[in-house]
Structure formats: structure tokens, C-alpha cells
């Protein structure tokens, strides 16, 4: 009738909280007001970052960032995502150095070749080297994604914050507009926009951007609505800060973490939309080596020379998965309430 008798004596003495917590490595006590780190002094830099009593605002800010990084680092999948993204960016930026062939040079005698020492990933229907085309194609696909995010995130953030903070008629009008945009599936609206312009990289970017901004505005507005009721915003208002200053300095920075998470998670869907447009022949036009476009032209050979279409498919999948993993990890760290 007796349970297992075991256990070490409980040795946590000295904390004042009722529930006694083991001392974790992240709450290591450090001397208050420790001096700023000297270059090379790794141990003291870690202590400086983790101190419970930061001496300056920047120390507190960096300490906070370091804590986030430590939490993020524990998530292996998210770290893997980050690594893949960094490697991909490296490959794409160094494309001229890493490409074994000119992506545009045709070698019609060597069409649809299987992977070999000369052509690592084989050749396409015009005898062009798939590996080199993938590298250069990454510049276009990933470049489109970056362009969309650069266009969309600031606009969405600004519009959402202003609407949320101003309220009233502006808010209602704006939300109605986002409703209309959200009432179309994204790809289909992008298709219609591209149809109104000329198929190509620029119109694809604009079309995706036009369809992508409403969720950001929604998110920023929702965050703003909670932030504007906080005491520190009231305090800022009472010190006479202008609405512009409050929005720019007090509201927008607070919206950033959730926006970053959203952007990272959205990256993968932007990649898929961009590639989808390319696949339908409405994105980058041949002979540009965009990943979706590459699949579209190689599609005809899927049953015989399948690797020609599958290689860019893997590239799209890897990039999209990496962003999803990273976004998932970032959400856990930056935005725990959204889980």
C-alpha cells in the first residue's frame, strides 16, 4: 500500500513565492548594473544580456531580444526553417558564382537529359541546365515575394493603425473595403488583376499585393483597438502627444511582433500564389526561369522526364515549408496568445 519512497530532499530555500520554482538557467542572478560587455568577453556578454537588473534601456531591450532568441533556438523545426531560408538566400544571391551554366543558353542536342555530372539536375526541353535555372529562378520567385511583402506590410500596418486609432467613419469605410477584397479567393482576384494588365513579373507582384494587404490591415486594426485603450497611450495623450506621434511611436511598434509573425506565415502562401500565377502562364514569362513558369513548360514531359518539372516543385515546396516552420516558431515566441 505504499508508494515509491524516493526523491531528493527539497532544497529550494530563499524564494518568497508560494509555489517554489527551481532556479532555471535563464534567471541566473547577475550583478546589477554590470558594465557593458567588452568584445570577446563571451561569458560576461551573456550575463550582461540576462541580468535581472538592466542598467539602461538598450540593455533591457537587448536582453529581451536575447531571451526571445533563446526561446526560439529551442524550437528545432523553426531553426531548421531559418537555416533553409538562409541557405536559399545565399544560393540565390550567389547564383552567378554557383551556376554551372548560363541559364539562357540552349543546347538542343541535349534536351531533357537526366541528372549527370555535367548537368547536376538535368536539362529542360531546350537543353538548358536546370540547376542554373533554379538558382536564377529563385531570384525571381523570392524577389517577387520580397517585393510583395515590402509593398503590403507597411501599407497594411499604416492603414490598419490609422483606422483602428481614428475609429468612426474611416474605420467603417476601411473595413468594408477589406471585406470586399476578402470576398474573393486570393488567386482568382490576382488572376483577374493580371488579366487587366499585361502578364509578367511586375503585374503579378502588383496583383498579389492588391489581394494580400487586407488581412494585414485587419490584424493591425485589431491590435490597435486593444492598444488604444491602454494606460500608456492615455498617458502619452495627456502629455500632449499628437495622434500622428502616438500612432507612429506607441501603437505601430506594438503591432510589429504579430505583424512579423503574420508576414512570415504569409510568405509561403505568397510563394504559392506567385508560383501558381507562373504556372498558369500569367506570372513571369518564358524564357525567364521563374519556378512556377519552369513547371508550366516542363509539365508536358511529366510522364517521361518527370525530374524536369519536379525539381522546381521541390524548390517551391522547400521555400514554402521553411517559411511556415519559421513562422510557426516565431509565433510561439513572439505571439503566444495567438496559438
Amino acid at each position: 500500500m505504499t508508494g515509491p519512497t524516493s526523491g531528493s530532499p527539497i532544497a529550494d530555500v530563499g524564494t518568497t513565492t508560494a509555489a517554489v520554482k527551481s532556479i532555471s538557467p535563464h534567471t541566473m542572478p547577475a550583478a546589477a548594473g554590470a558594465p557593458p560587455p567588452k568584445p570577446g568577453a563571451a561569458q560576461s556578454r551573456r550575463e550582461w544580456l540576462l541580468t535581472d537588473a538592466p542598467a539602461s534601456r538598450s540593455q533591457a531591450a537587448w536582453g529581451r531580444r536575447y531571451q526571445v532568441w533563446l526561446a526560439f533556438r529551442r524550437n528545432k523545426l523553426a531553426m531548421a526553417g531559418l537555416m533553409v531560408i538562409l541557405v536559399m538566400l545565399g544560393l540565390v544571391l550567389l547564383a552567378p558564382l554557383l551556376a554551372t551554366h548560363d541559364p539562357g543558353i540552349q543546347e538542343l542536342g541535349n534536351r531533357l537529359a537526366a541528372p549527370s555530372a555535367a548537368h547536376w539536375l538535368g536539362t529542360d526541353e531546350l537543353g538548358r541546365d536546370v540547376w542554373s535555372r533554379l538558382l536564377y529562378g529563385g531570384r525571381i520567385t523570392l524577389g517577387m515575394v520580397v517585393a510583395v511583402v515590402l509593398l503590403v506590410a507597411p501599407i497594411g500596418l499604416l492603414v490598419g493603425c490609422v483606422a483602428g486609432y481614428a475609429g468612426g467613419i474611416w474605420d467603417r469605410l476601411l473595413m468594408r473595403v477589406t471585406d470586399v477584397f476578402l470576398a474573393f479567393p486570393r488567386l482568382i482576384l490576382a488572376l483577374a488583376f493580371v488579366a487587366a494588365m499585361r502578364p509578367g513579373v511586375e503585374s503579378a507582384v502588383i496583383a498579389i499585393a492588391l489581394t494580400a494587404w487586407p488581412p494585414y490591415a485587419r490584424l493591425a486594426r485589431a491590435e490597435t483597438l486593444t492598444i488604444r485603450r491602454t494606460d500608456y497611450v492615455a498617458a502619452a495623450r495627456m502629455t500632449g502627444a499628437s495622434p500622428a506621434r502616438i500612432v507612429l511611436r506607441h501603437v505601430m511598434p506594438m503591432c510589429l511582433p504579430s505583424l512579423v509573425v503574420r508576414v512570415t506565415l504569409d510568405m509561403s502562401s505568397i510563394i504559392l500564389t506567385a508560383a501558381g500565377l507562373g504556372f498558369l502562364g500569367l506570372g513571369a514569362q518564358p524564357p525567364l526561369p521563374e519556378w512556377g513558369t519552369m513547371i508550366a513548360t516542363a509539365r508536358r514531359f511529366i510522364l517521361e522526364q518527370w525530374w524536369v518539372a519536379v525539381m522546381p516543385g521541390i524548390a517551391i515546396f522547400a521555400a514554402s515549408l521553411a517559411f511556415n516552420l519559421l513562422g510557426d516558431g516565431l509565433r510561439d515566441v513572439l505571439d503566444p496568445k495567438q496559438r
Binding site: M1, T2, G3, P4, T5, S6, G7, P9, I10, D12, V13, G14, T15, T16, T17, A18, A19, V20, K21, S22, I23, S24, H26, T27, R74
Partner: protein
Amino acid sequence: MSTAPLVEVKNLRVDFPSATGVTHAVRGVSFSLGKEKLGIVGESGSGKSVTGRALMRLLPASTKAQADVLRFGETDILHASERQMRALRGRRIGLILQDPKYSLNPVMTAGAQIAEALRAHRRIGRREAREASLDLLEGVKIRDPRRVHDAYPHELSGGMGQRVMIAMMLAPNPELLIADEPTSALDASVQAEILRLIEELVDTRGMALMLISHDLPLVSHFCDRVAVMYAGQVMEELPAAELHKATHGYTRGLLECLPSLTERRPRLPTLNRDPAWLAPRP
């Protein structure tokens, strides 16, 4: 076995592992309980609720519970199979939680939830279960049992919800009722009513009661014995009637923090925590 107490706990320890370390929620608690009313008092995080739930093995799967003895009746709770535990839960031990707003299922009617408790342990038909549920609702002094029976929890007031909770937990006629802060979420005006109801039902049915609360005077009023917990340990255990004779610094501190209507007190003292209280106890 007739002389053995209903519940026996010796040196219970409960740990919550987390990403940043281990929280020792309960650190060597011992007590026993017969057919009586035991109050367990302590502040938030003192481990009193965890102790109650450990007795029903209702803690999250990641929790580590150990004890020299953790026994209910003749069941060894630490080593019982899940099947044995299910036969114990509800049937022999009932649990009343703090806030009926959260502890009742929002998408099931009150009656359905009571009937479910009945039918989990007895083979009875729907109609019979409905009759029994209505009787139980009447038993917890609800004036309009039919309305409450078909109502969803959000349509009931806090006090009414807690009555439903009590009816539900008494349905299989358990031997022990654990009431975990049963009145903390209620309006002050209904608190006493609910507690009196629990007391009355426990007395007439001859059940044991474990009343968990942060309210020392309230517990001492309704219970036979009081155990005072702090930081996962029992500081002191004494008959409720002899509370004023408490010797431990923490109990004394709690009692002295209370304002009084009968005597004039200059200024309420703050509670000074002595680090020595945290030392492991025998």
C-alpha cells in the same frame, strides 16, 4: 478496515515540469480523512487544489506525483489502473470546481450533464435518468427544476450554476466530496447559501468533505478540522474550534491580518513570510 480512515495521504509530492525548470507544487503533504469535514486553507499557489486533484488523479499527464501512501478506501491511487480510477471518479469521489461559468459544459443542458453523471455509473434509461435529475435539482433547492433542467449554463446565474454542479456531483452518491473554492466566483450574497447547502447535503448523506479555500474564517466555520498550507506544505493542522490556539507563525499571521468588527485595531499588520517555513518538514 472499518477503523482505517477513508483517505490516507503520506508525504505527497507533485512536480510540474516545464521548459524552464520544475515547479514543486506539493512538497510532502500528509493527512488522513474519515467521515468528517476537513478544510484546506492556503493562498494561491500553495498547492491546495493540486492536492485535491492528485487524490482523483486529475492532474495533466506531464505532472509527476509521488507519495509514500496515497489511498482512497482500499484503492492505491498512484498504482490504480485507469479503469479503477474511472470507477472511483464521480462514483466515490465528487469534485466541485470554482466557477460554474467554466466548469459546466456550455453546449449541454444542465439536465443532460446531470443525467450523464448518473448514467456513467448506473445502467438506467433516459426517462429514468431525467426523473432522477429533476429530483436532484429539487434536492439542491432549485425552485423551478424543469426550467433549469432544460437550460444551458449561460442561461443560469452563478449560484444556480453551482447548484447544478453540486447536483451533478452528488448524483452517483459519492463517499467523499472535494469542493475546490466552491464559492469564490459567486456573489457574496449567495456564498453562504451554497456553503450551507453543501454542509447540509454532506451531513444528511453522511459523506466526507474536503473543503479547499483561501478563506480561513469561512473554512473554520464549516469544517471540523483545518489544515493550513503554504508553499506546497502543510504548516499546521488543528481542530477548527481551536483555531485561536494556532501556534504556527503563518496561521497566526493570517489570523492577524483580519479586520474585526468587535474590537478596535490600530492598523492591520502585513504578513511577514519567514524563509524558515520553506524548509522541508518531517
